[in-house]
């Protein structure tokens, strides 16, 4: 039996305000709340809420047959909590049906998996905590930001106890292999890989309403038939894209919501089921290991990291940012830690791309870089104020250890004193 595994990505960056170099050291608030709120409201009203309603209806009308999963970044969740709490409620409703799975991802939708492994582990844990707190279930499958994956990242993920990770169909990795099977990590058979079906996902996400596309108009019947006509033994078709495809990339008038609603019926006709990533990978056999020596992502034709790390500007910004990672993790200053997360969002670096600055609100890559570097300069000054760069990291660690253990030591000593005093009193009493 064939199965469809849907997963939707929800993420929006918190946008930086125009931050000039003379603000460095003067102004420690970096965000354009108006722009961020406006963007979130737009996404929520045009896409997330109507799409959630549609999915709820699909689950109902298919008697619980329809299933899908979501990967919502921590930054996006924070924005919903602040600007559109009704979205959180709506997802909670979906969670209650049990037909929806929430995936883990690095909290800040960051490139930490590539640049800073410690940070990555910490962020995934932070995100999992948040998901558990909101929706009641700890994720067991992971959707890395921008579907970035390599063997190394796979190892990290497996070590954290995740059983499933989603990756994209990169031609140079899969070669002749079909994405419609479950694969495993090159040397850790416990970790299952679900490969996104790139062609079918893009058919829905980008070509659905293109009138010059040879398969226009796309109907649910046709779409399901394509999947039904895949070779007999291919048992899973992973369809993943940004959630805003419903309602924004493909606006409501293109009929995307009606298309969705019709999917379960036609799927059942062809005996195609819907599955969740973690439950499916648990029960199915692997078709073999996949080796990914260099990181891949889900963007562009090359499926590599060039949209974020392709030019000198991006390299510079990323290197400067992650150079302070260790120091920031020593800090306990809450505002600083929050800024640290927000500054890591992948979008900031994408805006610095000359070729592929998707979703940018800057005039040019240089403009994006200038603004980001000014903010980063101020941020680094603040980090420096807490832990000066003149002290080596190791030395700093030692010092911190002494300070922290000092407290513990004082505490234990105090306890001892108390005990002794109590003894003394007892002794005096008994006399």
């Amino acid at each position: 039996m064939k199965n469809i595994c849907f997963y939707f990505q929800i993420h929006q960056p918190i946008r930086l305000k125009r931050y000039r170099f003379f603000d460095i050291g003067q102004d420690h608030y970096y965000y354009d709340d108006f722009q961020t709120e406006e963007r979130v409201r737009y996404l929520v009203d045009q896409s997330y809420l109507p799409a959630n309603r549609t999915i709820a209806e699909m689950i109902r009308s298919s008697n619980g047959k329809f299933k899908c999963s979501f990967s919502i970044s921590g930054i996006a969740l924070e924005q919903f909590e602040q600007y559109a709490p009704e979205v959180i409620d709506s997802f909670k409703e979906l969670a209650k049906t049990g037909n929806v799975e929430f995936l883990a991802e690095p909290y800040a939708h960051s490139l930490s998996s590539v640049f800073d492994a410690k940070e990555f582990v910490q962020q995934v844990k932070m995100h999992a905590d948040k998901i558990e707190a909101l929706f009641g279930k700890r994720p067991t499958a992971l959707f890395n930001a921008e579907l970035i994956y390599s063997d190394e990242i796979g190892e990290l993920v497996a070590k954290m106890g995740y059983k499933t990770i989603l990756i994209d169909e990169a031609k140079h990795i899969l070669g002749w292999k079909s994405p419609n099977f479950v694969y495993t990590h090159s040397n850790i058979p416990k970790l299952k890989l679900l490969v996104r079906n790139y062609k079918l996902s893009d058919d829905l996400a980008f070509r659905f309403s293109k009138m010059n596309w040879s398969d226009y108009p796309m109907t649910a019947e046709k779409f399901i038939e394509w999947m039904a006509n895949t070779p007999e033994n291919e048992n899973i078709i992973n369809l993943g894209f940004g959630y805003e495809v419903f309602g924004i990339t493909q606006s409501a008038y293109t009929g995307i919501f009606e298309f969705l609603k019709a999917l379960p019926y036609h799927a059942m006709e062809h005996q195609i089921g819907f599955v969740l990533p973690s439950e499916f990978s648990k029960k199915s056999e692997s078709a073999g290991p996949l080796s990914v020596p260099y990181p891949i992502s889900w963007v562009g034709n090359d499926k590599d990291l060039t949209p974020w790390t392709g030019n000198d500007l991006q390299q510079e910004a990323l290197n400067k940012l992650y150079a302070v990672g260790e120091r920031v993790r020593l800090c306990s200053d809450k505002p600083l830690l929050r800024d640290w997360l927000i500054l890591q969002t992948t979008d900031h670096f994408r805006y610095m791309s000359h070729k592929d600055a998707y979703g940018t609100h800057y005039e040019s890559a240089y403009d994006a870089f200038m603004n980001y570097m000014n903010v980063l300069a101020d941020f680094m000054e603040r980090v420096d104020a807490q832990y000066p760069t003149t002290i080596e990291n190791e030395e700093l660690n030692e010092l911190l250890k002494t300070i922290n253990s000092q407290e513990l030591q004082i505490e234990t000593l105090e306890n001892e004193v108390k005990k002794l005093k109590a003894k003394k009193v007892k002794a005096a009493d008994s006399k």
Partner: protein
């Protein structure tokens, strides 16, 4: 195809960007095999590069019939024009121009510059055009800038050949809106008479359509390009402790020098390791020196005076940032020259070259904050400097006059 072009400047003796653009364009067009260009300028010096076109000096074209011997003519102007050509052109005198003061050869003395009696020179240029139009054989007339519009229009009237005019600047750019009605009149009449109008940027095209009321259908943008610099690598940068930010151009209202000074002031408040250079001269120079003194940044702000030839490229190559905050710049070729020698450029959005450059920082001319921010960012971030330098150079090397020439040719063909 034979083109008769009227210009005002031609390298190596140039006063502004017009000469450079005329040279580049004609050179680019000469690469088309069937293109024959005759270029008329008021006063050639004899050292112009004539390998790809023919130059006629207006000051050697007789407009009044005077009897002279071959030897006398040879002795007088033999170094710039063959006497046979003089006698042949003399046959083209069909009108009586005795009202104009002429010399012993029946020629008019042109200054070839921008003198006080410029309007008179412009109308004298018309007399030259009448002689040439009667005598020469050409398919199209091409006039560069308003100084030559009346000449072009007159040549069209006489020969009946199509006229295309090339607008390198309008009076709206030069005067920040305080238009001289006489100049406007000359420009407008030229545009009305033209069969097609070429502008150096979309910005200028818009001005031509809106302010001179031209039919948008007959106005086309042909962006300028830049001549490849064969010895670009010979210009090197001396290592120094301070970063150098340079403004280079005429210090006039049009170029927005005061915005540069203000931006420099902002940068210097935050960091000290930067020096600012204002190269060039102009009517606002003294005011700028005053302003620099008033802002108390004179120790970090330097004036070089007028630079020419190789000095220009040397200055550009020595700089870490080139800035052109022009209030209104029809095209602006100097950022392209800066990028050729590997200097990142900051240009105002009100410059025509901003339309074709990606790897340069663009700000509004009045946005001092943005300008200061860009300067700060380039001098403080080596990555930014490197990126702008490398990609900028590649970009500029791909902007070629040849392509502009092909576009002009397309326009010629459309009006024939």
């Amino acid at each position: 195809m034979k083109a008769l072009m009227f210009g005002w400047e031609f390298p190596p003796h140039i006063l502004g960007g017009l000469g450079t653009a005329s040279y580049g364009l004609t050179k680019g067009m000469a690469m088309q095999e069937d293109m024959e260009i005759t270029f008329v300028i008021p006063k050639p010096h004899g050292d112009e590069d004539q390998s790809f076109l023919k130059i006629i000096g207006a000051c050697n074209v007789p407009v009044v019939w005077k009897e002279n011997t071959w030897d006398y003519v040879n002795q007088r102007i033999g170094n710039v024009m063959h006497p046979d050509e003089y006698f042949w052109l003399r046959n083209g005198i069909k009108y009586d121009f005795h009202r104009i003061y002429t010399n012993d050869l029946g020629c008019i003395d042109f200054s070839g510059r921008y003198p006080d009696n410029l309007i008179e020179e412009i109308s004298n240029y018309e007399a030259i055009a009448s002689v040439l139009a009667h005598q020469m054989d050409f398919d199209i007339i091409h006039s560069h800038d308003w100084l030559t519009f009346p000449a072009g229009a007159f040549a069209k009237q006489i020969s009946g050949k199509p006229l295309v005019i090339h607008v390198h600047a309008t009076d709206f750019d030069r005067s920040r809106g305080q238009v001289n009605p006489i100049v406007y009149g000359i420009e407008k009449r030229g545009m009305d008479a033209a069969d097609h109008i070429m502008t150096v940027s979309d910005l200028t095209r818009k001005i031509v359509i809106e302010k001179y009321h031209q039919d948008p259908g007959k106005v086309t943008t042909v962006h300028n390009a830049v001549d490849p610099l064969p010895d670009a690598d010979s210009f090197t940068k001396t290592p120094r402790n301070d970063k150098v930010v340079t403004f280079l151009g005429r210090i006039t209202m049009q170029k927005g020098p005061e915005y540069f000074v203000e931006a420099a002031y902002r940068v210097l408040q935050k960091t000290k390791g930067v020096r600012f250079v204002m190269a060039g001269s102009g009517d606002m120079m003294n005011a700028m020196i005053d302003l620099v003194a008033k802002r108390d940044i004179a120790d970090r702000f330097h004036f070089t005076g007028f630079l020419k030839g190789r000095q220009v490229h040397e200055m550009l190559a020595e700089s870490d940032v080139y800035i052109m905050p022009s209030v209104s710049e029809p095209f602006g070729i100097s950022p392209l020259e800066a990028m050729q020698v590997g200097t990142p450029s900051i240009i105002s959005k009100q410059s025509g070259c901003a339309e074709i450059l990606t790897h340069a920082i663009k700000t509004d001319y009045w946005d001092i904050d943005a300008m200061a921010d860009a300067i700060y960012s380039i001098v403080k971030n080596p990555a930014m400097h490197k990126c702008l330098q490398q990609l900028g150079r590649d970009e500029v090397n791909n902007i070629r006059w040849q392509d502009a020439g092909l576009k002009v040719r397309g326009i010629y063909d459309s009006v024939m």
